[in-house]
Symmetry: C2
Subunit: 135 residues, 2 copies
Amino acid sequence: MKDAAHAQEHITTELLVCVTCRRKGAAPEDERRPGRILYERILAGEPPEGLSVTPVECLQNCSNACTVALRGGDAKWTYVFSDVDETAHAPMLLAGAAQYHAAQDGVIPWRERPEHFKRNCLVRIPPIKPTSKDA
Amino acid sequence: MKDAAHAQEHITTELLVCVTCRRKGAAPEDERRPGRILYERILAGEPPEGLSVTPVECLQNCSNACTVALRGGDAKWTYVFSDVDETAHAPMLLAGAAQYHAAQDGVIPWRERPEHFKRNCLVRIPPIKPTSKDA
């Protein structure tokens, strides 16, 4: 086992949820933004150990809400996902975040990746510490 | 002067340039991708001290190329910009990167921000170290 693989077990994975997101054109049913509802549903899904869920203000992807990001230390890619559904997608996000947490560089193998992640990756940003592997 | 303001002077700002980007629908004139041309023009513009320019493989924003990102340590927002023109935008990017480098949290005041940054911010990601200021 590489040192890096051992070390990353102790690094928290962060799921950032934009709580100011609202769906385009849709009037909210109450005071809560869809991003806030999404955040609450993720928390209700009991995030596993090692995953921190952070509400954030405006990721400036307002036209493709809801928006979330996954990051996890200097050795992992950061991923941003768009068009997340606040009523249906909390379990998918928690499962995907667990896969991301388990992946040394944050790159979930394509075939194992949630369909929503495959089709709605807005952008990814490389690790701060360069790696030899690129995928 | 705050300690944080003093410390950030020593943190390198990184301009990530996707060198695999190509413009949608356009056949390249030669073997070089537009993202590679953009990277070369940025380097030719002599990046100022404190700015590191990094070529990266695929940020997965292929439908809105060219794509660049700015990041600078744990206390700054990370910004991703789309639709960068490889022939015209290198000077604008260098100027904008210098403004980003000078901003403690990476948030360039709106009125001073390059027009392209205002209109083509794909997404921004908050600092790893939370700050009290949000803009």
